[in-house]
Symmetry: D3
Subunit: 228 residues, 6 copies
């Protein structure tokens, strides 16, 4: 089996009150222990979640600099990555803060690497796609829905889960102007990276974590992106 | 007027539910704008507060490595420092992560520098004392009590606020073994640094922030540490 | 006058044979000397141009890793930035390699900062928008056409230069799937950053360089992006 | 066998005239070769010794900044660490300068890591305790006395070597105010780190180096710290 | 077999028009794959070649700072090194920029390391000698002539290839003042490093690359430097 | 007045017993205070002196790696530079460890920069020439003889001090093979850098320090290097 990049959505690790979901985090760490192997590397890219949102919301009162606000979200995502590192290794965290640093760390002896955001103007989903591209890995996007739907399942009762979706279909779905509160699994840049490098990508519900294992083993779960 | 290091206790910027106190943060930033001056540098050292505690508490379930846990607290304190930088400058944060980096940044054009913890096994109060020592600054420790009391004011109704306290008296007060939940304004290492460099130090209630301005101007507020 | 970010298109500094245009580079450096001022910072973001293309084309024979190929382009753009630094300052080049480093350098005494690409999957035009956002600067995109046209002027004889164009119009124009050899002044990510931060942006022909000065002084030249 | 951190006291590597003890250094390096093993890491933390003292003493004439003076001692200890690295590996030295760098280097292929001080206000003994804590290693403190005595053996003829000593007993012994020339094996911070992480610690006379091997193998030598 | 440092002359990878020689580069990469082995490290030091010359020549019009100009050459050589890394590993390049960084990377898992120049005032041939010295490797200098001649073969029809040459003979040959366009395989500093560390050195024609393999295997090819 | 680089020979700061000369160091620091000015930068490059020699001599017993041994000398020279920084600024030292770092620090607010060696195989005198070249400064080489003599003044009673010496004459004098114990003020690389950039260079006896001031003011002292 080759290497994997797992994008762990921030929504999976915080509850609706903005508190860390300790039990989920422990279950995810156990899953990583199960799938860890000498023969491959795993990179986990964690989102910022509720921590990012609360810091950004306070700063926004007086700060109009979107780059600075994004940076707060990035730092929150690295704190989340550090938490997972600490829980996984029982050692002080080593978290790369750019693709260049990640690539260097990839040549060390760490079997699992944890990271968060890299740069303003860029989602952690894009980070996961860039990392999968740089390390020629498969990409598993673990989020809080079961995969890609025909429309927003939280608004449209007829929304159907797609087992397969072509990259061009996704580009169509997500290139429309964004409306407030709308269903946004992907941004354009992520899709463009996935497309240009034909990254083997599966979108799964990260809860329960076992879905991630299933995706790694090629079992049927979530939505698989296909290329023409 | 010389330079100042302000230790901003984590307790000042989070409410009892662990949420950031946006209004307090804005008031503190306004205070910094008032006291900023071309002729001096200000370094603000921020504690980790509730954010640090919540990450550490989740990790501790499976991680027994105190160094790793401290590191989570340090990262949380840097996130707090980044928030303040962002609110103060309306620019992406630049946060030193060691005394060496702080000293380098001190030679740049930034009039106010924000930082958090540096190293496991060391409180942010110690960081503020080390920074005051390295930069030959006065130290203002802003916390959630009005200064140093004869005993813990939350437990002892007869506790009296001390206007002045000698460094040796403090060393006596805080060298006793610590009991759970006890009143702990200082650790030994902070006091030792203050003592060896006779750092001009005032302990004030950071709320309202105007107390900090008063301490900077040498007006009567809080507790002043005196040397033999 | 505020600060400026100038994106200098790679096409401006190489001729059709892939050789550096020495005379143009000298003229651009003279322009920078003219507009330099104590009161503002200028950041110049240079593209990779023909140098980037020749390295990427050789590597692509055996390397399918788009991230690695992009990295070659980034290194070529930094070499171009170093050339300009050297010509401008007559000193060894200091070139930031990430937004974080650029922000740090922004607090130094250098009045003009030169940089190239930051990260795979991201154009130098995006770098210029992110830098303008982070430093709250106006953005001047200097390229080899006179501004934004209604259609590709190299293919359509009826193409008309737009003096003003709304950001949403641009998003429409550039969100369509890209065809080989097509007219591509912008990528989506650049436009999204410009939009979210309402960056004051002018697109000009960088040849002659005086167009850049005109844009900096608010004189009529090229195309100005307008916001609703 | 697990990993080990060895604190090598500066007093062991300089003679009374302040000259390096070449023969001792060679013997210590041979010992490291004997105990090196694929299955574990060894970190050697070296003190500054006479080199540190001579630089600090010259600087102190005109420099009152204790932080700056400590930094000279730290640089001297890193020079000592570099000497040992060079003698051990016959390669140019790679010396971490913070706990963070040390943790990164720990994931490389180097079986033995050499380091000196990290930060002003902190002894190299504290560095060794923090490193043992971060890497979950046993700690061997090699000094120029045979272990912990009931009182200062250089002053009190009735001083008795303790084979075992509880951490709380040590905290009592070393929390008293320090008098000039007094017997000071530990500082408070070292003991607090050892206590909070229950670090398996032995204090031995580093001369002959074989005592260190004995301590690593669990044989009776020096003083062992015990926990309640 | 021990480790090797291969100096790859810039002249080997550019044709007379200054274009990259794609076929040669692919052949060289294949050679590296053939000789790679778990048991040894290979460091490839690449020259700047035509890319370096073209950037330096443009800058020199207005920049008289030789240090700055050298820096452009160094950046060009790193771009060449990145190209080779990318072609060899199909991964984003990791290129050390000083001897210190190279030594650190030497302790990672990368079997082949690519680098360019380190510092102004120093040729990439000197870099290769310093690297061979630091890593105790054999040195193969691959250039565009067949080895060391009695005189410049491009000017003197009686020039004879030397199979062996003593280091002192070389020092004599290359200590004479340099005339424009003269035959310059070595600079003094390279020879001094080779001499002081008695580095096992062979000079070969890097074209065809198989000469390099022959030199690594100790077969007769090019010129071997001998020591008294 | 322009900028200056002062090479402070290690022989000036240690006595014949290898002890630091505290009085000389204080006098040199006072001199720097006298000549410091807002309008120019001063870089002081310090040699390793007796400290370097003692560490190298101990290591050489078991270490044959000249690169590693040089590195010990470099670290000793940085310790010397740190000592001077500390005495000059009464602040923790900031010491660049490469030409690149030095150039960055040159753009900070520090009026005087202290540094030591940069790289194995290179003397601190070469560092001073490279720094003068990069920063377009005048070079003052302060050593323990009165300037350049016609022959070694310690061996030849007829040796005469030269007030002026051409760079080519120096190249002749120092290109001869070196004999043990011989008079060696310059190495080839230093002279080549001085020559190629026609660096304004004066060699003076650094004791008394006032000679350095005289050289800075263009008064007659020591030996001036002249160019054809």
């Amino acid at each position: 089996m080759g290497s994997f990049v797992i994008k762990l959505g921030g929504s999976l690790i915080f509850d609706e009150n903005g508190a860390l979901k300790a039990e989920y985090l422990r279950a995810f760490v156990r899953l990583l222990r199960d799938v860890e192997s000498r023969d491959r590397k795993i990179v986990v890219v964690v989102g910022g979640g509720a921590a990012a949102r609360s810091y950004i919301s306070v700063a926004r009162d007086v700060c109009r600099n979107e780059s600075a606000l994004d940076q707060l979200g990035i730092l929150a995502s690295r704190l989340n990555a550090s938490l997972l590192f600490t829980m996984y290794y029982d050692l002080p965290p080593v978290i790369p803060s750019s693709l260049e640093e990640l690539v260097r760390l990839y040549h060390s002896n760490l079997p699992v690497i944890f990271t968060g955001g890299f740069q303003p103007g860029q989602s952690t989903t894009t980070v996961s796609a860039l990392t999968a591209e740089a390390t020629k890995s498969q990409l598993i996007i673990a989020t809080n829905v079961d995969g890609v739907y025909t429309s927003d399942p939280r608004r449209d009762p007829n929304a159907t889960l797609l087992r397969k979706v072509s990259i061009d279909q996704l580009l169509d779905m997500f290139s429309q102007p964004q409306k407030a509160g709308e269903y946004r699994l992907f941004d354009m840049m992520t899709l463009q990276v996935i497309k240009r490098s034909k990254i083997n990508t599966v979108v799964v519900n990260g809860n329960p974590p076992d879905n991630i294992r299933r995706a790694m083993e090629g079992l049927s779960v979530g939505t698989t992106i296909v290329f023409p």
